[in-house]
Symmetry: C2
Subunit: 427 residues, 2 copies
């Protein structure tokens, strides 16, 4: 890979998510060379992907070109590349566009969907971790309605209008709420020939509560909101399989459906060379110490979702969310500079700023450290915080315009099938 050689130490960052970008920004204008690699040329604001899937936002407004984020930084190099292997002996990474030596390596490769080994579910269900996946889901939802119009088999029509979301975390809850609003606001207008009552939205949670990790209040209220929107909430049910037609569970419950969204788990997106048992712990995450160092190395780090840093409060590792990722990225920036100057690094301390989730218009739940609230005000807070964390003024403006429009008009206009998903559903 032709990156110019300088006298500065070279820091390679793998991944342009929240963690990688926060770190790169911290290292800007320092006497280091930063090489950031990602297989996409853009940073994705994952918390809003469900709005892309449900036509509320355009994909471009929740993504941002990585080159643009870092364009004013000297000694910064971005490469569109997939990293195949990390050679910790030679301090080299191997990618599809060539090899590159590093002085410091930061793995910020994030997480991917965890199917817990079930290849049938992996093959037939939809995930929502990337923009292309979200667009595929959007196309599928819309194509299902079009197909439902055509079929003369009632059972098949019901299956085409039946949505099963597996996983009761924020992604599942937010998607279920958005689909319920589509059912209520858009379906009757767009598809007068379809009986809206046939559309069902199911959310299945293996545990006993939604939004695990948030307060009991938030969890109960979210469930209440969803039920008011007509979503069927199934708790303590574990999905065992989906063959493209029928979801089976550990109980008698089955669902005939054309659409399963798998939001039931994530795992670290490990890379060969750092994926051995020595390094990796539960959830396929790389074990790191309080300075984000990978076991056995001074100069190799992991941050964000891929890193498993145990704390007193989180003995199984910090939550796989934006906040720990951003904070670790920022802190590691200072720490690497300290390491270069041979000063002691400062251990990471997670500042838990709380969590939030939205269910629908005027319906959100917010858990702050000292304050918990739900409803309209929570919904405004949720919107404000998400606008604030979006990268780029244009994105904020466009998202804001869309939200205002959608709110006033009870609408979601980004309903284009642009990635036709040529699957023909047959029960």
């Amino acid at each position: 890979m032709n990156i110019p050689k300088t006298s500065y130490p070279r820091i390679i960052i793998i991944g342009g998510g929240f963690a990688g970008i926060a770190l790169a920004r911290k290292l800007s204008k320092q006497e280091v060379q930063v090489v950031l690699l990602d297989k996409h040329n853009y940073h994705t604001f994952q918390p809003l992907l469900y709005q892309v899937s449900t036509g509320g936002l355009e994909p471009d407004s929740i993504a941002y070109p990585i080159r643009k984020i870092l364009k004013d930084f000297p000694n910064f190099h971005f490469r569109l590349a997939e990293v195949n292997e990390i050679d910790t002996t030679c301090n080299t990474i191997k990618t599809n566009i060539g090899d590159l030596k590093f002085d410091y390596l930061v793995v910020a490769s994030g997480s991917k969907t965890n199917y817990f080994g079930n290849t049938e579910i992996e093959k037939h269900s939809m995930a929502m971790k990337t923009i292309p996946q979200s667009l595929n889901l959007r196309s599928l939802i819309l194509e299902n309605f079009e197909e439902a119009l055509l079929t003369t088999d009632l059972h098949e029509r019901i299956a085409l209008m039946n949505f099963v979301i597996v996983g009761g975390g924020p992604t599942g809850v937010e998607l279920a709420g958005a689909l319920a609003e589509i059912k209520k606001g858009i379906l009757p207008k767009d598809y007068p020939d379809l009986d809206t009552r046939l559309a069902q939205i199911n959310i299945i949670q293996s545990g006993g509560c939604l939004l695990k990790g948030m307060s009991e209040n938030a969890s109960a209220k979210a469930e209440d909101f969803l039920e008011k929107l007509g979503v069927h909430v199934w708790k303590n049910v574990r999905v065992t399989n989906y063959d493209g037609k029928t979801v089976t569970t550990n109980s008698d419950l089955t669902f005939d459906t054309a659409t399963v969204v798998w939001a039931a788990g994530v795992q670290g997106a490990t890379i060969k060379g750092l994926d051995a048992k020595d390094f990796v712990t539960r959830g396929n995450r790389i074990l790191v110490n309080q300075c984000n160092q990978v076991k056995g190395f001074e100069h190799i780090f992991a941050i964000g979702d891929i890193a498993c840093m145990a704390t007193d409060e989180f003995p199984n590792g910090l939550p796989m969310m934006a906040q720990p990722a951003i904070q670790q990225g920022q802190q590691l920036g200072s720490n690497i500079l300290k390491l270069i100057e041979e000063k002691p690094m400062k251990p990471f301390e997670y500042k838990d700023k709380g969590a939030m989730a939205t269910v629908g218009r005027n319906k959100a739940v917010v858990d702050l450290k000292t304050l918990r609230f739900q409803g309209v005000f929570a919904w405004y807070v949720w919107m404000f915080v998400h606008l604030f964390f979006l990268i780029g003024f244009r994105n904020r403006m466009v998202v804001f315009v869309n939200w205002v429009y959608n709110y006033i008009r009870f609408d979601r206009e980004a309903r284009l099938i642009i990635r036709p998903f040529k699957k023909k559903f047959k029960l």
Copy 2:
């Protein structure tokens, strides 16, 4: 196809472009049943596709769900379908989702790219007639820059940064101008490692002037604008082939390039059953009379790009543009209603409202009937007219926000590679 049978006459419209939508709107709230078929679930505002290709606008903001345009119209049915054949004997159309009988049929299937029989050019060049095509082109342009960074072969790098646009009509001119602005405004910031001077934009026109059909003034000024932006304008040059590496022409001139955009011609998108020599004239368009009737039929019509209606001013048929399409759609709406009431139809008269094209910021050319002007004011007029004709308030708002932002910031932020085009360029 399960469309309810009513006592109203059934009018089938094939195509949801400018012509088809104008007609459907005109027929709303009348005592007719309207069935509109399109292979996309959205209407595309084609005049702005080049801005999608060059990252200035999101695809969703220049497209609009067809169901939504027509949602308040009773007796209206949209079906996502591809029409394979028209059976004029049985008054039936055959589609991928079944057959359907009609009382009146309107072919508004528009136009497609014309490669004049050259399959090599068709295989290797990019077209820009649909949203998926425009997104492919956007991805290719961005991937070329990423690849240019990686190659160590200077010749190859130059070819990756060399853009050849074939065709000097509005599409070609507008795309060339937009690429020139990317070269000037974005390339140096995003790719500091690339020598911007290597990027070349070429526009090739077989005839002696750009924007054929507009005034001499407009043509000359557009050329002047393009040259000021650093675009190479090649007139009286005919491209003979492109093998994926090198463009050859009817002169000594050749271009080594990874990107050829073919905007050199369109032809009618005919459908089996109406594609025989009896019906079709030059440019693969269906010959119609002044009431848009297809030869030999009282109840079968063609409107828009697909229809070839000769007038005194345009003996070879009206231009393939939005205005004639919209006007024909509106007029045919009244005429079909007259036909049903057994009243005489009114022959179509084209009201030429003029033409315009934009080259870049503050640079456009406008030909109105009595007034011709170029420059800043023309640019404002161009923007105003395009905003006005966009369908949907949200689209207008989002496009407006983007344009203001792009103008102030000299930027185009929709630079996501979301449809990876896995072609690896090798000279």
